[in-house]
Structure formats: C-alpha cells, structure tokens
C-alpha cells in the first residue's frame, strides 16, 4: 500500500459511516414519498452531504467532493422551500448515493474509472436543471407577522422559510427571551433548547440588543409551537426564559390561527423592543428569495448589522457538523469551528441527539455511545486464515489418535511421537497467532480519547478564565478498546484539575515571570507491555505541606506517620479517599478533588497512577496501563491447597522469608525489606482458610499506584497467560476477587483483585493481628 494508505483507509471508513447515515435518512424519506418531507430529515441529509463534501475535500477525493457538493446544493434548495421534494429529486438523491458508494470503492482501490466520472457529471447536471420553484403564494405570510423589520432582516434564508411555513400553517409563534450570564450561557441556552425542542420548532436564536447586565447576554428565540401558552410556560419553568406571543394578522383568505392566551410571567419583563412591533414589515420581496445556491449555509454572513459578532453568538440552530455521529467529529479538525460557544453547544447536542430523553450533563462522560470496534477486514481475514490452519492441525491430530487406537497396546513408533511433537508445536504457534490477532483487533488508538479531551480543554479553560496551550502527543499509541473507553473519565478529571487548580490565572503567571499562556500536555507512550499516559502542567504545583496539614486534620495519618513521610509519600496522600471534601477544595485550591475515584478507576484497569509535582514548576500525573485486559500474564500461587492467580503487572518482586523475618508494629505484621517497612498479610488468614505450617513463606510483593504490600503464600506455580472472566452480576460484591479464569484443567481459578487486597490490608479496621 502507498504511504497514504492509512489515511485513505481512514477516509474510506469515515465516508462509509456517513453514507450509512445518508442511506438511512434517504430510506425514511423514500418510505414517506408523497407526504410532506420532514424538515429535520432534510436537514440531516443536508448535513451528511456537507460533511462528506468536507471529508472528501480533505482527502483530495475530487469526484466525491463535487457530487456531495451537488447534493448539498440541491438539498439546500429543498430545505429552503425553493424546490419541492418530488420524485425526480428523490430519485436523483438515491442514485447519487449509489454513485457515491461506487466512487468510494474506486477510491479505496486508488482507481479513477471513467464510467463513474461520467455518472457524476450527469448527476450534477441533473441537479442544476432541477429548478421548479415552489408555487409562490399570493401574499407573503411573513408580512402578516408583527415582526420588527430590523429583526426580520437578520434571519437567514432558511429561518425565514421556516417562519413563513409556520405562519402559513397557522402555528402560533412565540418569542422566548432569556437572559444568561456570559460565563455559562452556552449551558443555559443548550438547556433551553432541549426544553423547547419537544414542544415545537426553534426557528431562530438571536442575540438581544439589551442584556440585563454587563456580564450578561440575552437571547431572543423565535419559536413555533402548537401547544398552548400555559403548557409552554410550564415547559420552561425554572429557566430564565420569558414568553411572549408574536401576533399575526389573519390571512386575507381566512386561515384561522390557533388562538392562544398570552401568559405574562410574573417577572417584570422588559418588553423586547421588537415585540412593540410595527404592524407590518415592509414587503421585502422575500416571497421568492433571490437564489444564492453557492452559499448553502452562511448564517452569519447573511446577518446585517454589527450586533452579532460570531464569537459571542451561538449558532441559531444546529449547524451541519454538530449532529454528526461522534466518531466523525474527531479526525476532522478542519470542520471543528474556531469559536468556542458552538463547541460547547455541540457537546450538549451529542447528549440529546433526537431532542427527546433526558439531557445528559456535558461533563458526565466522554465515553462513546457504542461499544463497537471498527476492524479492518484484512485483520479478520488473517484471523480466519489462522483458524483454517488450526482446523488442519486438528485433522492431523485426529488422524494420529485414530492410528494410535488401531495399533492398540503396541508401543508407539518413534515417528509417531515425532509427528505428535511437530503438530503440538504447530498448534502452539497458530494459537499464539490467533491470540495476538484477536488482541490486535481490539486495539484502538488513544487519540480517540485525546481528541475528545482537546475539545473539552478549550471549554474548561474558557470557563476558568485561564489561557492554555494544549498539546497532545502520542495519539497513535494503541490500547485495548475497553481501556481507552474507561480512560476518558479519569483523564478528564485530571485535566480539569490541572486547568482549574494547577494552572495560575494569566496575571499571576506574568507576575511570577512565567509565560502568560500555561501549557497543559497530554502524552502517551508505549513502554514494553505498558502504555504510559502523562498529564502535565507548568502551573503552581502541589504544596505538600498543605497536603500534610489537611491529612492530619482529617485524621488520615497520625503525627508520627507524618513525621516519617517523605515528600513523595506526602504528595500521594491526595489519593486517599476522604482527603478531598468540599471544604478542602478552597483550602487546597481544589487539588485532589475526587482523585481517589480516579485512582480507583485506574486500579480497576490494573493500572498505576503516580504524581510528580514541584512547587511553582508544575504537576504531572502519570498513568501506567497494561496494553490489554483481555489476556494478562499472571503469577499462579498456592495457598492452603487452593490456587489463585495474581496479575503479574502488579507484582513487584517475590521474596522467600523465614518466620523470624516477620516483625509486628502495633500488633500488625510487617516485613523489613531493605530497610523499609513493608505491610504484610497472609493470604490464608485474610481469606479464612486453614493455615498450613510450611516453615517458610513466599512473599509476593504487590504494588498498585503508591501502595506496596507483601502477601504470603505457600507455593509458587509459575506464570501463565490467563483470560479473566468477571464473576458476573450475582458475585459482584465479593471483595478481593476480580474474576475467574481457567488454567486448562477445567478447574476455575480465582484472580486476586490486588487493589482491594491492598485496601483491606491497609485499613486499620481490618487488621488481622
């Protein structure tokens, strides 16, 4: 494959997903032939065509880009009502989908077949010829609406079209006025949108000229709804929104408008200037709007006047890129717009795509909505081949078994034994190939999470009033899909901490002689069988003396313990549960908020977390993670005749000790390990098994995050690759066991949960003296 092969395959994968969406929407449209097309549906198809155009342009796929552009054009005219969705239009759209699919096949092979090129040209021509405009009404319904001409002038063509459509159908139009604080208006607005969407159609969102305060921003939402004003008011309860109805004159031909009472909210509503309306806007010649098909969507350029600079104004309606399926967003930095409000908005949109159902809080999770892994078919083919060879080996072994049976009690020939040995070796090799092939299929680049986090960083930085340069490297490092998914939340937590509390405000930084913009970096690197992910900032660092004070105050450590602790150990106190509380947030500038949760999450992934910090130079959190959880290497140990498996990635070393090496401190058993005191626990005692007097012990020293502990066992059986299976719903509450595995003799062997054992061994109330 050529050097661009990987990029190309990514393009093909992305484009396939877009085509899938297109296909689905077009099918729905096709099913409802003859009915009036749902504007949301046309918008969806329009957006998909638009993103396909962008994507194809990015990868230099001219023909796809041009065809998608043609589709987009047509759809734009459809959604603006300049064209009626009829059978010819639909047929052309369906056909272009076929052509796009064929073009994609071409692209993946690196070919340019001329037959497809002619089809593209033919379709584009058909698109442009399709021009039967919608029958214009005698009277522009918009003229009947009492709307300030100034307001009307800023509507986009599409908004105007929707407004007209609503007036014509006699849908009551409302002005929803809401005042937000500048710092969080995007959230407030997103909430308002999600409340309004189920009861009607948001036609336009306009920034208002009169914000209530200097730090506030007000919006007028033009909203069409068939429900009564009372219902509407109850839907908006709890939001700062104020309702007022836009009066419309009855049409000349007597279409009756739904009469709805106008509820006045209790709040002294500053009547929006525009609703003290001029009875009729001057006829604007808008009934058949001059076509501008080459500018399919340019809401901001269409708005006259100076009061809506794009940066302070969220998009009036979801723009094409916002409601795409999540995966499409990430690899397309060009499609992510520079102004931030819309980004926050887009994240909100992901939570409630479909406008129904509970709104997901922006911060709750960055996990993807699906558990699917996209696997290259060639990887699957490779696996299939391996399975085929395994079947051959099985046939050979079967034949040999049959031979041996027929020879009965005769001594087996040397040749037979050699053949058996050869087949076994083959089997082993092929099984290895199968295993690594399967693992490879589960791997995804961590960049998937990094991209999501990058978007988040800008928003958090803006909220916190910090200036941040965010740098992420190593996104191509691959990890098991499950781990990548589980990583997003802990990483988000750490990054949020770094921006909120690690990094100083710009002025402070300048005063301290640092650069005004702080650097926060996210770095991934593969080291052997592990991946190290580091989040670092160049902020103020953690004050370990404050950590010590807080830990003492909260009785997490004793004075004596504190006196013995070195700087590193003090820093690690921030991972203790109960260290961070709301009160401490202010005292400790919030460092350590929920870090125990982060630590737990990482521990669940069999990972380690470590912190480095230097005052006024910055802080770094380092996560060390196994490449996969599906198959891990384990140390198999024996205790009282039982067998257990210990994940090797948490085993630091193995000691052999005599009973006299065990000391007690405060009636707790400890080991003296090279001058350091190591907590010590006997697995048999911990599990309540009959203890056997073996004279000497093997001690498995385990470490997770910062904790270290020695676990005494009777026997060591060696290492083995194991597939851990969770114990399942009924047994989830069992502590100290993370799952079960099968070592090949059909007996189930339990896998120890080192993190839980460490906690049990450490916490004072569970001392086994």
């Amino acid at each position: 494959m050529n050097p661009g092969g990987k990029a190309l395959s990514e393009f093909v994968a992305e484009a396939t997903e877009i085509l899938d969406t297109l296909n689905k929407d077009l099918l729905t449209l096709d099913e409802r032939r003859g009915q009036e097309a749902d504007p949301e549906l046309i918008n969806g198809i329009f957006r998909a065509a638009h993103s396909l155009k962008g994507l194809a342009g990015l990868f230099g796929q001219d023909r796809i880009s041009r065809l998608a552009h043609g589709m987009e054009d047509l759809l734009d005219r459809l959604r603006l009502g300049k064209l009626v969705m009829d059978d010819t239009a639909l047929d052309a759209l369906v056909e272009s989908l076929d052509v796009l699919q064929a073009l994609l096949v071409d692209a993946s092979r690196g070919e340019t077949s001329s037959s497809q090129s002619t089809r593209v040209e033919g379709l584009i021509e058909r698109f442009t010829l399709m021009g039967a405009p919608a029958p214009p009404g005698e009277e522009d319904p918009l003229d009947r609406l009492e709307l300030d001409a100034q307001v009307r002038a800023v509507f986009t063509e599409y908004e105007e079209h929707r407004l007209r459509e609503n007036v014509r159908r006699g849908v009551a139009l409302w002005r929803v006025r809401a005042d937000f604080d500048l710092s969080d208006f995007d959230k407030g607005l997103a909430e308002l949108n999600s409340r309004l969407k189920p009861v009607g159609e948001i036609i336009s969102t306009l920034p208002s000229a009169q914000p209530s305060s200097a730090s506030g921003i007000a919006f007028d939402l033009i909203f069409g709804s068939k429900v009564t004003g009372i219902e509407l008011a109850s839907a908006l309860e709890g939001t700062p929104a104020q309702l007022s109805q836009l009066a419309a004159r009855p049409p000349a031909r007597g279409v009756v408008l739904t009469p709805a009472p106008v509820p006045r909210p209790a709040a002294p509503a500053a009547p929006p200037a525009a609703s003290a309306a001029l009875p009729a806007a001057p006829a604007h010649g808008a009934a058949s709007v001059p076509a501008a098909p080459t500018e399919p969507r340019a809401p901001s350029t269409r708005r006259s006047g100076s009061r809506k600079s794009k940066a302070s104004r969220p998009p009036p309606r979801p723009e094409p890129y916002q409601e795409l399926p999540q995966p499409l967003l990430t690899p397309l930095p060009m499609m992510t717009p520079p102004p931030l409000p819309s980004q926050a908005f887009s994240e909100a949109g992901l939570g409630d795509s479909g406008s129904k159902g509970p709104r997901v809080d922006l911060d709750t999770s960055l996990r993807s909505l699906t558990q699917t892994v996209r696997v290259d078919i060639r990887r699957l083919d490779g696996l299939m081949n391996t399975v085929g060879e395994l079947l051959l080996i099985k046939a050979n072994l079967q034949r040999m078994t049959e031979n041996a049976r027929q020879e009965g009690t005769l001594v087996l020939s040397k040749a037979w034994v050699q053949e058996l040995a050869r087949e076994t070796r083959q089997l082993e090799r092929k099984l290895d190939a199968l295993q690594s092939g399967l693992l490879e299929a589960r791997m995804v680049p961590v960049g998937q999470v990094f991209d999501k986090l990058a978007r988040l960083v800008r928003r958090i930085a803006r909220e916190a009033g910090k200036e941040i340069d965010f740098l992420s490297t190593g996104g191509e490092v691959e990890l098991d899909k499950l781990i990548v998914e589980e990583l997003s939340d802990p990483l988000m937590h750490i990054i949020r901490n770094a921006i909120d509390h690690g990094v100083e405000p710009p002025e402070v930084r300048v005063a301290a002689g640092k650069s005004r913009r702080a650097a926060v970096s996210l770095r991934a690197e593969q080291k052997g069988n592990h991946v190290v992910i580091e989040v670092s900032d160049d902020g103020s660092g953690i004050d370990e003396q404050r950590v010590r004070e807080v830990a003492l105050q909260r009785n997490l450590i004793t004075e004596a313990q504190a006196a013995e602790m070195n700087r590193r150990e003090l820093l690690n106190l921030i991972f203790l549960p109960g260290f961070s509380t709301a009160r401490n947030v202010s005292e400790l500038s919030g460092r350590g908020v929920g870090l125990d949760v982060v630590k737990n999450n990482i521990s669940n992934l069999s990972g380690l977390i470590d912190v480095w910090s230097e005052r006024s130079r910055g802080t770094a959190f380092q996560l060390t993670l196994p490449l996969t959880l599906a198959i891990i290497r384990a140390l198999v140990v024996g205790v009282s005749g039982r067998t257990y498996a210990v994940p090797l990635n948490s085993v630091l070393e193995i000691l052999s000790i005599q009973p006299k090496d065990i000391r007690t401190v405060e009636r707790r058993e400890v080991l003296d390990l090279r001058g350091q005191t190591l907590p010590f626990t006997r697995l048999a005692r911990l599990f309540g098994l009959p203890e056997r007097n073996t004279g000497r012990h093997f001690v498995v020293v385990v470490g997770l995050a910062q904790e270290r502990m020695g676990i005494a066992v009777d026997e060591l059986f060696g290492q083995q690759d194991i597939v851990t299976k969770p114990l399942g719903g009924r047994l989830q509450s069992v502590r100290g066991i993370s799952g079960a595995t099968d070592l090949g003799n059909r007996r189930t062997v339990l896998v120890l949960d080192v993190a839980a054992l460490l906690e049990d061994g450490m916490s004072p109330e569970r001392r086994w003296a």
């Binding site: 969770p726 099968d742 062997v749």
Partner: protein, 186 residues
Amino acid sequence: MSRFSELLDDFFYRPDEDVGGLLEFAAGSDELQPLVPEETPEEYLAFLLEGECYAVPIRSIREIGKVPPLTEIPRAEPWLLGVMNLRGDVIPVYDLKLRLKLTDKASLVAGPDAPPPPRLARILVAHTEEGPAGVWVDAVKDVVRLKPSMLEPSPPGLGGERDCVVGIGRRNSELYILLDLEQALA
C-alpha cells in the same frame, strides 16, 4: 366366558389397575367448585434436599449436570458453595439447605479438602434475573405435571423467614414443596 361377562369384568375394579386418574378426579371433586376444564398442568422438576421432596417449575431450569469441581469464594456468604465453570462461563453455586434451614452447617463440597460429591448429587442451573445460578440438589427425582387444582398454599411458618416456599403440590400420595428460586437465591 360369555361376551357379557367380559364386559362386566372390564367394569369391575382389579387390584393391578391404575386408578390414579380416578383418585385425582375424586380429590378434585371434593371441593365445592366444579373442575375448571381448561386448567393446564405445568411441569415441575422434583428433587431431593435432605430427604424432602422439592419442586420448581421446569422452565426456570436451564440444565442439570453432575457436580463439577467447585471453587470456593473466600469470605462469601455461607450459602454460596463456590463457582463452577460451565463451558467457559463462571457460575455461582448455592446451597438451598442453609437457606431453607434444613441444616445449619454449610456442607463442605468445594476446595481441596472436600470429599468427592455423592453419586446422585446434581447441580441445577437456573435462570434468574441476575444471570444463571447453580443450585446443589441431593438427587433429581423426576418431572411431574401438576395442575393448579393440585396446588395449595404453603402452611405458615415454612421456608424460613423468606417466602421461598410458595406452596405445596399434591399428586397422588406424593407431596412436593414448591420453591420460588428467585426468592431462595436472593
């Protein structure tokens, strides 16, 4: 023998004749309500626990198997005997005897010190809301068809403090203690 006496012979009771159905009919007619003609019998799996005969609806049972090696779960409740490997799935196995207070000592069936399981002992794998669960039984008896009319509510005070026992089934002279596995394994 005349043809008439042959007919007569058919009519009279013979000691080797199976009259279970008649007895059932008689038992049903004892009640004042007339028999509901459309009542459909349900199949129950009957098994023994400490010599008593218990039964559960057979559709709640996924499979019945011999007792595999069980792995005990340290620090678990006493009625959790351990886990077993069922074709690659890890399934917990429970001891109902403790739950039903038939005994107060957990039987030693898992771990290296356990004796080999009794020849007749079986594990029933049941469907439950929280996934499959194994249940130790001393022996599987048979499958019985019980009509709703053969069921009676359980006398008070049965089944420990939980409502594991939902009723008594009576067929001929046999008594079946009907269990609610979902409750018993909760």
